[in-house]
Amino acid sequence: MNTPTGPAVPGSPGGPPDGSAAPGEPLLSVRGLKVHFPIRKGVLLQRVTGYVRAVDGVDLDVGRGMTYGLVGESGCGKSTLGKAVLRLVEPTAGTVRFNGVDVAGQSREGMRRLRRHMQMVFQDPLASLDPRQSVESVLSEPLRAHGFAGDRSRRVRELLDLVGLPAGAAARYPHEFSGGQRQRVGIARAIALNPELIIADEPVSALDVSIQAQIVNLLEDLQDQLGLTYVVVAHDLAVVRHVSDVIGVMYLGALVEEASSDELYAQPLHPYTIALMSAIPIPDPEVEERRRRILLTGDLPSPVDVPPGCRFHTRCPFRQPTRCADESPDLREMRPGRKVACHWAEEIAAGAIRAAASAHDPTATEVGTPSS
């Protein structure tokens, strides 16, 4: 093992940025985060006719060195949440504290400096690389932007080595690489400045299945070597389970359940999570044969028009005549380490409430797939 951390950037030692966090405080702390996109109509006088509530009040904490997995259907706002944490998308409300520093209160230049410690890996590796930039230029750009004092080309080779690319890759252009190699370049760029937090937005979903495992392993290796903290956004339950310590399940812009990875998969508590988990095929033909799949009816409601009460009640197979339609459940701690946003979680867990029969209707749509 060579020293993976590399020379520090002057003026900002590898440690926490100014306003250092109290011990025990999580590295990333999000409270009441909302991202609403206005919908405008009209040609001359653009009136706001509504909002797309992409992220609608999310609280979460990510401890140092942990991996937090965010799962949910496409369109549930998980990517927007990731971008809002880095302020690549401007939050509408709520606070994001990184290492004790309020991210929303930063000036443009302050934000630029702060982002050195929090980086992003993108879903589409080709789109995230400037087609006119050689890999050398891609990787030395963050170094130049933050006044890296050392030998830049040495650092570039070091980064390539860290992500498992040959030194010769430096002179090449993005279109000359395969998808997996491009994502390695994207990861190398993200770790170029020795960040503490990396937000990986669907880091493997654009890749071949055969390549996905390599990239997932690379991310884990880098976490061990560099002491990184990850927020991994994904819709692939298997990937998230593999990498995450804690998993948050999102539905229509809000977290509906949060638990450690093992517990969540062993006993999902929220009806939505239960339905999601029941959709995972089991690699054993006999068990698979007897597996009970809960099929959700109806489409994902529009985030412009979030259902009142529990946002999942329109599709919930465990829906009860009271509370669900008119009372919005908080994300509450049911027992230590298990948070769930369901009025009836205890009863469902105890088996007192069963999924409605119609939800097993074979003609109903499967989770996440639109009805035909």
Partner: protein, 300 residues
């Protein structure tokens, strides 16, 4: 080594090399339309550059006897015949290429510079700057091109400078709108987000990433605009808005001067007309095939 060697992935071995430009160049060379366009453009440029050496006679002096009723047609000594003042028509067509090229290129560069500056302002700053610039552009585009050019040239007083500025002004909004649209599209791309997140400053993102990636259609538009600039220059000259100096062999002006002799010497109108068509066709073909070569949508 930090990672196991087995993890090190081999990079595709074939020497594709270089950037997207090389790929486009390869497709361009295989396209017969592009080759035809390039040949016509080369012919035009070579003639324009070498006119003083290619032309057999001086362009501004009579070399034969003519009267209004007998203008000699093509012959062995004078391939295109003589014009109404007894000058060698072939020589004048060759020299005309030179003027067309100068007027075309200068007006294109002026218009492109102005248009790109406006587009860059709108695309880089957005907001109210974008609004103001684009409304001005809309107003300019709402007037028909040649009519607008006539207005500008007439305002400036006729002359070659006026023609060039007029054509430049007419072309400015096209480039402004094109660049601004491209920049807006690029601004939302992931690599801009990525550059922002690694801390690249805004000015460098705009000038180093967004602008270079927005220029491809500008190059295509530039080639196509050269064709229209040549036609417009001829049009303005035909309408008498170009230089008053009759010794300057300008194709549009040559067309205008031969109007009176259309019945006795119709070929005098044909030769400069053909020359205009060849030059404009060359740049149009080249521009269209450039567009095909550079546009990913056409990739096969």
């Amino acid at each position: 080594m930090s990672l196991s060697q087995a993890e090190t992935v081999a990079v595709a071995p074939e020497e594709t090399g270089g950037s997207l430009g090389r790929d486009a160049w390869r497709r361009l060379r295989r396209n017969p339309v592009a080759i035809a366009g390039a040949l016509l453009v080369t012919l035009f440029v070579v003639v324009a550059l070498l006119a003083p050496w290619l032309a057999p006679y001086p362009p501004d002096k009579p070399v034969g006897q003519v009267t209004p009723v007998s203008i000699p047609g093509p012959s062995a000594e004078h391939w295109f015949g003589l014009d109404d003042l007894g000058r060698d028509e072939f020589t004048r067509v060759l020299w005309g290429a030179r003027w067309s090229l100068v007027i075309g290129v200068v007006s294109l560069l002026l218009g492109m510079a102005g248009g790109l500056l406006l587009g860059l302002l709108a695309g880089a700053f957005g907001g109210w700057v974008d609004g103001v610039v684009m409304r001005v552009v809309d107003m300019m585009l709402s007037v028909p091109g040649l009519l607008f050019a006539i207005g500008v040239a007439a305002m400036l007083g006729s002359g070659l400078d006026a023609v060039m500025i007029a054509i430049a002004v007419v072309n400015m909004p096209i480039f402004a709108r094109l660049l601004r649209g491209q920049m807006l599209a690029q601004r939302r791309s992931d690599y801009v987000l990525a550059a922002t997140s690694v801390g690249v400053r805004r000015r460098r993102i705009v000038l180093g990433h967004i602008l270079p990636n927005s220029l491809t259609p500008v190059i295509v538009q530039g080639t196509l605009t050269l064709a229209t600039a040549i036609v417009d220059a001829a049009g303005l000259a035909f309408l008498g808005l170009s230089s008053n100096d009759p010794s300057i062999p300008e194709w549009g002006r040559m067309l205008a001067d031969t109007q009176r002799y259309l019945s006795s010497a119709p070929l005098l109108a044909v030769f400069p007309g053909l020359a205009i068509v060849i030059a404009a066709l060359g740049f149009t073909l080249l521009g269209e095939s450039l567009r095909e070569a550079l546009d990913p949508k056409y990739r096969r």
